[in-house]
Subunit: 424 residues, 2 copies
């Protein structure tokens, strides 16, 4: 099965935006057992898109394009593909009604041009877009004029915005692939996500015990992100389920407490689920992370059952006013210190009556470091029913990475503590 | 001038890593006036890399590859290219000395295989790598066996790790390009960033007035992100500066207050700069955005001079405790209401003594909507020296987009208000 991905957009070629579609779609396809063999990005010009689509159709069984389905003059993929395949375009009344309804909900007039997104090439399947106005389109190119022998290919066109593309991929593209391009043999893939442990240590711990599974043809991969490492196990063929299952049990045994979730699950999602399942509440007191932890926790639907408040006390007076940190503690130890992290956590817990309160104070940089407390210094406090702990870490990265890694460490401290606590 | 970029790496095709090279290299080249016409990613297999390089050389004047220059068995680009071009490989004593010295500095024995990185194809220029062991390579392919007529092309091979590639690009590739592939005519590009206005409306407003510039050959493009739309103006030739300058003045006139910045600038960066330049301070009172605004503001270095505190009051008691919102207001109007947004903003301003306080309360979803206040309902309040305003918006998106768009609207309300206020 040959799969190609074409990302269209002049803004990609100008480096104005990061192409996150490549990683996301390649990852999703790889987890389903479809490996992308080539990815191409071209500008929004007819000649370039046409050439890229022609070449991909000459080689692949499945071609996925992203972008170029919107209402503006540089959105030309729909028309171009219809023309290339000799298909007429017809207005789809259901899509048009969806677009009208979309603008009604926004209480905005429907711009005339957006109606063009209801035009559908003859014979194309419409992939609904609940999060936007441009539907996705899927066409079976049969016979395929660009391929030797005319062997058929599927051409799937997806809209550019990730918040539209991602749910459409999960809800419409995956079922379509399973139906029209089923895999020849079973494929099983499992990702285990760890935090608080480096990539080389993960590798040292699991590579030996997994040697047998790898010998049986299992693919073992690692993926490191700020503060976390994923372990990916994949196998093909009739024994795939057994090999991956056994390998997963080995990784669970070896890395146990470091594993916070599987597949795509984020640390904060696992945490909200854990806290909610025990009816526990949380407060946050953030300084250097500046709301990063709160933002991640509140990305999880249902977070309001768990999070009572997050106090981003970015100044000393705010630490005193909202958390009751003592002026004397600030003066004696400085805002970035073990005692202040402790008072922040305890103050947040006292003020909100939450079961747990997590605090963070540190130096994100680029300025503000001293020989004693260099950029990257951070204290993470956790106040809970069993008392307060404070951890000292060094995260000497750029500002945004510092925030992400520190947030990850703080969430991990909380998860490990709650997981160890007697259930209730 | 046709430029192509080839990123090699099986891990890219599996979606294990994000291809940041594309954006980085495309952006650097675009700023120099070299626009990448096609980017391709292929796995680390000989047949795929060979095919991609051949195709690129058949079209482009400049081909840049990334990856495949290291010492491991899947690093095959160097050998493959030498073979394709019929060039022998010779050990370069200077490169070998650099590799030896590199390991001496690390006080580690030099692994035997790393010596292979000193092999240089005949006639290739060596691009030094002060941050790693694999040098970059540049070859003029003349005559070019893959191009009709044999027209020459430059092939530049860069190592995969970003911390090696980026300095090498700046120190070696840019001077090389200016020397061997100078631009034929001037190139000017300007991006204006807007917020609070949809992509179709932006286009409706600017397309007509810019018709003249487009007729003169100016390239007009749009790039939509949650809550913001960029307008990009680019032109080549002796009149480029004038055409883009006139077009920019037109866009400024038509979209004036909606423009928050130019080029890469983020809304929060423009805002922190604006507030800092007037010595104004800010407090935030976030409910449904859950720290998203605070997180964005604190991504900006120097935010601590502006932001005093952000109170993420995710529960009613927290709104009362930390912001002094009246229990009666909450009971009578509900937490998602104009009066609560008003009291949140005024409470945050009072408690922190900030010059401005921004508040947000709404329903992020997916749950919690009612017929009266559906998911996406949001009230944005701003308390400042001239009083308090509250805006009612509808952002019926998925949870994360809701937070981003709402944050964008809130930051934009603040920016417009401060920009209009009498300077101090």
């Amino acid at each position: 099965m040959l799969v190609e991905l074409i990302n269209t957009g002049t803004e990609l070629m100008l480096g104005r935006v990061l192409n996150t579609h490549q990683q996301w779609i390649c990852r999703k396809l790889a987890d389903l057992g479809y490996v992308v063999t080539r990815q191409t990005a071209v500008p929004d010009t007819g000649i370039d898109i046409r050439q890229a689509v022609m070449e991909a159709l000459s080689r692949a069984d499945l071609v996925i394009t992203t972008g170029g389905l919107g209402p503006t003059s540089d959105d030309i993929t729909r028309d171009l593909v219809a023309q290339m395949l000799g298909k007429g375009l017809k207005e789809d009344p259901e899509v048009l009604a969806h677009i009208r309804h979309f603008f009604e909900r926004l209480r905005r007039p429907m711009p005339v041009r957006t109606g063009i997104q209801a035009m559908v090439p003859e014979g194309a399947l419409v992939l609904p877009n609940p999060h936007g106005t441009a539907p996705g389109l899927a066409i079976e190119v049969r016979p395929n004029p660009y391929r030797a022998g005319g062997a058929a290919a599927w051409l799937v066109m997806l809209p550019g915005p990730p918040r539209e593309l991602r749910p459409m991929f999960a809800d419409s593209v995956v079922p379509l692939l399973k139906r029209v391009l089923p895999l020849a043999s079973p494929f099983v893939c499992r990702t285990l996500r760890t935090a608080g442990i480096g990539e080389s240590v993960v590798q040292e711990k699991v590579a030996g015990p997994l040697a047998g599974a790898v010998g049986e043809g299992m693919d073992l991969g690692y993926c490191a992100r700020p503060g976390q490492v994923d372990v990916r196990l994949a196998a093909r063929g009739p024994g795939a389920e057994r090999v991956v299952g056994e390998a997963e049990a080995i990784v669970q045994e070896v890395l146990g407490p470091q594993i916070y979730g599987i597949e795509d699950e984020e640390q904060e999602t696992a945490l909200v689920r854990l806290l909610a399942s025990r009816s526990l509440t949380l407060a946050l007191a953030e300084s250097c992370t500046g709301g990063c932890i709160a933002n991640r926790v509140t990305n999880v639907p249902g977070a309001s059952a768990v999070l009572l408040a997050a106090l981003v006390t970015y100044s000393n007076p705010a630490k005193e006013t909202f958390l009751g940190v003592q002026a004397e503690t600030l003066a004696r130890h400085g805002a970035v210190s073990e005692p202040v992290a402790r008072e922040m956590a305890e103050g947040a817990r006292r003020q909100t009556r939450a079961d747990y309160a997590l605090s963070v104070t540190g130096i994100a940089g680029p300025g503000g470091g001293t020989p004693d407390k260099p950029v990257g210094t951070v204290f993470i406090g956790l106040a809970g029913p069993a008392g307060t702990v404070v951890e000292h870490r060094m995260n000497p990265w750029d500002r945004e990475t510092f925030k992400q890694v520190t947030a990850q460490q703080a969430l991990d401290l909380l998860r490990r503590t709650v997981a160890r606590a007697p259930g209730n």
